[in-house]
Symmetry: C2
Subunit: 467 residues, 2 copies
């Protein structure tokens, strides 16, 4: 008999049909260590300050701000062509690989080493081998770089689906390697979607249906979803199905064709734009507020997905759960400040729920971090030199906050019409739980792997791959 997903006793919701084994009272709970890693993609200090100003005002505090311990995380990236040389701005693939596997690699790589293309061993694989529960929750496609790095091993983040392996082979010159070596027919493990379908991860929730509703490599009738089902995955496609889910077995929940829709957008879909100059005068853009994104209506929230994962993983056993708010990054790429703020709100609400869980389960270590920093900068809403008609280059937005002031937010890493680049500053780490107070004030991203291993009592891989 299972319990419904929307119904964990520990999550303050009525629990129908809970087994006592999986939802025992606090006093009798096992102390099996539990590990929850929450990643705000691109959530650097600018994004946090911007979101705080909008969500709770300049005198308010985010839940993030209340976490008791804080560190700063240096990202590290190697050049694919010469892995002895660093690059100073990472992508989500190499940073997630650093967190998941403790290995520094090159931009675009998923669970593989720079140059030498050896598979790394992820915390999820080590946890599963130890019999622990494992879960991945994201608002992106589950095949996107951050979640993929916790479960898959491919040359290149774009190798998401069987079709991508052969038709979308790397057209992005930023990523030096390609997918061909990873084809099953070439002795590889197949696309990221196929590797997820073949995996032992207990629960995988996010977007990306289109990568699973394709024929698998070498198959004439079976899709990747079919392979997942054969491997024991129950397939979930709607928030209603998620809410009705019973505990047990493996779950693959996919709620959007690709990236899940975001919760907020600028009023009237406003975003940052280039500042017009007319007769030498800078015409600053109109200020706008944020509004709900209608496309979000059919999405489960990040918090509800994370809650469902916690219920599936249960209260008794050890587990490792990675939860990602992916579109803080994606909306910053697209110069959409309200989108970013809404996705940071989703993360903050998830952190609140997870902290409640961790208080009830003191054997839980919660780490909240970002994978890399992003383009958006909080700048004056009118330049100090506005009288001289100075204005932001690049793209600029003026966002009206709920306390009646205006934030200036610029996006100026490149002048393309399509999207911004990442930036390379250290990112924050917030921590709650056993050992949190012992985390040094400054760490490297690979140390997050060690912190997770240590908390779970897992031995490090005996032959860690080196670049």
């Amino acid at each position: 008999m299972g319990k419904t997903v929307a119904a964990g006793l520990l999550l303050s919701i009525a629990c129908h049909g809970c087994t006592t084994e999986r939802a025992a009272p606090v006093s009798s709970r096992s102390a099996a260590p539990k590990m929850i890693l929450i990643i705000g993609d691109g959530m650097d200090q600018h994004q946090i300050t911007i979101a705080r100003n909008y969500l709770v005002g300049y005198e308010g505090r985010l839940t993030l701000d209340t976490l008791p311990e804080r560190s700063s995380v240096q990202t590290q990236t190697l050049a694919e062509e010469d892995p002895r040389v660093p690059e100073y701005v990472p992508d989500s693939a190499n940073t997630a690989t650093s967190m998941a596997s403790g290995v520094v690699t090159s931009a675009g790589r998923i669970g593989t080493t720079a140059g030498t293309d050896r598979d790394t061993l992820s915390i999820m694989e080590l946890a599963a081998a130890a019999g622990f529960g494992t879960g991945i929750v994201t608002t992106s496609s589950v095949t996107d770089a951050t979640p993929a790095s916790f479960v898959a091993h491919v040359n290149q983040r774009l190798c998401e689906s069987p079709r991508a392996m052969v038709t979308s082979n790397p057209t992005n010159p930023a990523f030096a390697s390609d997918c061909s070596k990873d084809l099953k027919s070439n002795g590889g493990k197949g696309s990221i979607a196929e590797q997820i379908a073949a995996s032992s991860i207990d629960i995988v929730l996010g977007g990306g249906v289109r990568n699973f509703d394709q024929l698998a490599e070498g198959e004439t009738t079976r899709t990747v979803s079919d392979l997942a089902a054969e491997n024991g995955y129950r397939l979930v496609r709607t928030p209603a199905e998620l809410a009705a889910l019973t505990v047990g077995g493996k779950v693959l929940g996919l709620f959007a064709p690709g990236t899940m829709s975001v919760q907020w957008r600028g009023a009237g879909d406003a975003r940052a734009e280039e500042v017009a100059h007319v007769d030498g005068r800078a015409i600053y853009p109109e200020a706008f507020g944020c509004e709900p994104n209608p496309d979000f209506a059919m999405m489960p929230t990040l918090e509800s997905m994370a809650r469902a994962a916690l219920v599936q993983l249960g209260d008794g056993d050890s587990f490792v759960l990675m939860i990602e708010s992916a579109s803080i990054d994606k909306q910053s790429h697209l110069r959409r400040p309200c989108g970013q703020i809404g996705e940071l709100k989703q993360l903050d609400e998830t952190v609140k729920m997870v902290l409640d869980y961790a208080r009830a389960h003191p054997e839980t270590l919660v780490l909240v971090t970002a994978d890399h920093s992003q383009a958006a900068q909080l700048i004056p809403e009118t330049s100090v030199l506005a009288a001289l008609n100075a204005a932001s280059p690049g793209h600029f937005a003026r966002v009206r906050t709920l306390e009646g002031a205006v934030m200036g937010i610029n996006y100026a890493t490149n002048d393309s019409s399509s999207q911004e680049d990442h930036s390379g500053a250290d990112v924050p780490l917030f921590a709650y739980g056993p050992g949190a107070e012992e985390i040094p004030a400054q760490i490297r991203q690979t140390d997050i792997f060690g912190l997770m291993l240590g908390h779970l009592g897992l031995a490090p891989p005996t032959s860690a791959p080196t670049p």
Copy 2:
């Protein structure tokens, strides 16, 4: 009998003529609490990561990175016209006032409240009233916003000198208030330089001679320097005089007409520049390294000034010492990455010396922080979209590091030809010493005042001014 400044026993240099009272062996030292606040002006996480990459490489650690405790500091700024409404990007005047006095005020204000123009009470004034030592060390003019906020009270940061009070009255529309109310002839306290000259701060070191070698207000023959001398200040003008200084009395050391020259510059004086586009192609600027700035030759280092201040303040008594590396900010304003890196190097070397002092004087609390964030961003040295000829808008530099890689650094807060704006992200706080481990992971800038008061055992002002 005094001891020479370059000769503190505790600073590992031979001490000639030390009095046993001021340089007793460790075992007999008093536990009088000592407070050292180090401010990197504009030193946000981008500036720190950029400097680390250059100074110690991607596998190295700055001294800053080794401080045991870390917090994040929210800056707060009010609108002068309506102090109930926040602004989201501060300046160095209001942020230094927050740290010095625990009061949130408007941009440009020095030790006065937004709108109501009431004088605040600074940690230096409270410490002096308690009989503690006081010191201010900066690489800017000592009359510049950050140091001024610890000692002076004026409407406006530009009121630096008697001449500025009447001839340079606010032409900068970013700062709403003006100097006239602060004229002594109008019942005010006079310019910042005159307030420093009349102060009880034990040691003041930095730049700004030109603000002191002016006739004081209402005087026909006496300069501000003359007034300082009459108030007991010994005037020091060269590194040699600083090195020969004996302990005792008050010291005013001014080593440059205005801001002190910085230690480094780009090779051949290179700085960030606009990316040229020729026939639709982006022509990225040539990468450059850093080199010593010849103008720095006649300057004392920040570390040597801080060391001199520590010797003057002695080992026995309580003191509060503010040390600022000012030109991390100023060089970022001017789009000079090597200048920023060199001034962060000066700060890091000073932190190292101060930590040595604090280890020998465990009654010392060391706080290192920034006042606000800045424009410079670490971005890809070639855009992910470089194949599409995307390049940084604004001003862009490619800095070649000592480990053979290249950092992209952009400055894109406004398109003026003169200088960048600040940015508004939370800034880091690093801490070492008694109580450091109890500092919350997230604080506000005004909390720094409380931390200093608490460490020194001083009571908060009974009638704190409110906006």
